[in-house]
Every structure is written in structure tokens, then in C-alpha cells.
Amino acid sequence: MTDTPEPGQGRPSGVLLASIERRAKDGFTGTLRAEGPLSGEVVLAGGRVVAAATPGAPGVEPLLLRSGRVSDEAWSAAFAEGAPHGRLAEALVRRGVLGAVDVEVLALTALADAVFALALRGVHTCTVMPAKPDAPGPPLPADPGLDGERLIKETTRRLGAAARWQELGLTASVFLVRTSNGLPSDPLLAAVNGRRTARDLAFALGRGLFATMWSLTDLMEAGAVTTAESASEPSAHVVLETPDGLPKRLRGASDIVRVLPFRPDR
């Protein structure tokens, strides 16, 4: 079954949010599979949204591991113990890996971030898949999860902010460059390297997509970061190996051509 959006007054915009609103009202239990330029899933239990995931935003694991909040070993041990029985949250708390509130905050923010990433990019179709009796659920569901109205309100807030940021040129998928060289002390700024989008930076640092975009607008407003001039411009780190083994620099790739006068090929 696929949800198609119905035009109407006062309804949430977009296929995804309309689908969430409808299924939340129905008390639905199962998964909404979102397809479009970005794919993902939103999981509901009794009409409340308990989890969401997409390649467009870091999920629970990269949020914990990439940020250095939790060690690989601690996570793996808790995962091995709890996840197969649907009790990862319990295992994390019992092993002292995370506090109970930390787990709740993590589950809620990861879910809201994934829904935001999907709604921002735009979902084309939302396929409704009721839960199968013995199917495993999401690894770290929010308990009791967000009600549809609250999630839609939160997503709308985020989309509003993103619309303002778009005026600065910032989207989740535009490539970003630093305006000056050197090694900055700010880890976000240091991670901007010409080949990463806001989404990539979020993954690289283990922070939420929305939070990363917000911090990036601060950096853009301060003049430290700007968007890459065109999507087809190769990055400065690209090197082509020729058959005789000597690496050759691709002309125009490095920013140096902006500073030095261009010299034609020999």
C-alpha cells in the first residue's frame, strides 16, 4: 500500500509528513518505507513514531562511535548482548555505557534527524508495511516515542530553519570549502575539505544533520566556510596515475590556479 498526498488546507506538506500524520491517527504499527532521491524508513508502534533511519543522516551507531562518546568495544559488547533480544537500550544502561536519559535523548534526536533529512530532500512515495509478528524491530527505539503531531511540529520547525539556510546557499548535499588554509581548532571547520557535504560532515563527526547544518551556517556567516562553486569542479586532492608510474596533477583541480597565473600545457 502506498500513501499518496491529498491536497488540503492545514495539512503537513510533503508525502512523508502526510503519511506520518495519517498513520499516527490510525494507531499504525509497522514501517513506512520512503523512496525518492533519498530513501529511508520510519517505524511506528501504536501510532507513535519510535525510530527512523536513512543514509541521509547519522543513526545511533555513528552518533555514538564517531563522536567518541562510546568506545567500539563497549558498544559491540552491549549490542551483542542486547540487540538480538530487542534489549539494546537495557544492555547499554546496565553495562554503564550510557545513562538512561542519554539513551532516550539519543533515540529521540536520531529519529527526528532522520525524518528531517528525508522531509528536506523530499520523498516521492511512502510504502506502508504493517509489522510482521516475529520481525525484529529497530535496534534502539524511542520509548514511548513521539506522537505524530509533535514530530510533524518539530520537523516543520527544522524545515523552516533549513529554508532560511538555503538562502545562504546551504543544503544538506552541497559541497563545502574552507575559505582559508591552516589547521583550525574547531573540529567541524577542520573537517570541511571541499569534498564533503553537510551530510558527510555530520557522519564524519558523529553529530546530527540538523545540528551540523546549524553550526555550518554560523561558520558561513563568519566567512570561514563557503559552498563549492560548481558541483562538477574536481577537488584539489585528486591525482591521476599514468602508466609510467608518475602521478600527474589534473589541471584546474587545485585552488592554486586561482592565485597563480595559468600556464598552458607544454
Binding site: R69, G99, A100, V101, D102, E104, V105, L108, T109, A112, D113, A142, D143, P144, K153, E154, R157, R158, R207, G208, F210, A211, W214, D218
Partner: protein
């Protein structure tokens, strides 16, 4: 609202002079839990504005190279107190936002209670 976030906010609700409160994720500005005794009080707006205040403060202190961590921010209005209590300073992720009726509230007591709740949340 989760059981633990919910419990914390119920404790805040018990503070004398309570008008509304919210636990907010500082990085995204997302309210993680909301309680209110006044339907006129739009806590979503309050959470958004408060996040801006906290972010501005953090930026200011960074620019001033102040090493200290923010514990709380108090805004005294004619008829209300708004207290912002930062939770979990190490990860710097959350803050508790509380609005109190100035006439009924005991500010000193409220701050002590909030500090206690913050300690419980930071565990």
C-alpha cells in the same frame, strides 16, 4: 516523553510558581519533553528562543576565551523568572528551561531544586 525525561519534568512541575518547562537538546533546539500549566504559554516558541540565547552565550564565552562552563542563566522579568539550567556539561547537550511566576516562586529554592534535578538527569 520518556519515563525518565517525564519524571524529571514532573519534578520541575512541582516547583512553587511553576508555569511551564521544557527539556531541550541544545544542539538541535529540539524540545524533548514539555510540561505546562498555562495553555497560553507557547513552550515551543520559548524553547526555540531559549536555544538561541544559550547558543549565543556559548559563542560569546568562546570568543572571550572563558574556560568555565555555563551552569545556569536567569532572566528576570517583571512578572516571571525564566531559568535555563544546563544539563550534562561534559557532553553539553541539554538544558532545562523553566518559567516561574515571580510572585509565587522562591528563586533560591527553585534554583536548588533545579540543580538537584539536573544532577539526577546527568547520571
Amino acid at each position: 516523553m520518556s519515563l525518565t525525561i517525564d519524571t524529571a519534568l514532573k519534578e520541575v512541575q512541582a516547583i512553587e510558581g511553576f508555569l511551564g518547562a521544557s527539556l531541550v537538546d541544545y544542539e538541535s533546539g529540539m524540545p524533548l519533553g514539555i510540561v505546562s500549566s498555562d495553555p497560553e504559554f507557547d513552550l515551543d516558541v520559548a524553547a526555540a528562543v531559549t536555544t538561541d540565547i544559550v547558543r549565543a552565550q556559548v559563542k560569546a564565552f568562546r570568543a572571550l576565551e572563558v574556560e568555565d562552563a555555563i551552569e545556569d542563566i536567569l532572566i528576570s522579568l517583571t512578572n516571571q523568572y525564566h531559568i535555563i539550567r544546563v544539563v550534562d556539561r561534559e557532553a553539553d547537550r541539554l538544558f532545562l528551561y523553566v518559567a516561574l511566576d515571580r510572585e509565587r516562586a522562591n528563586l533560591g529554592l527553585a534554583r536548588i531544586t533545579l540543580r538537584k534535578i539536573e544532577r539526577e538527569l546527568a547520571v
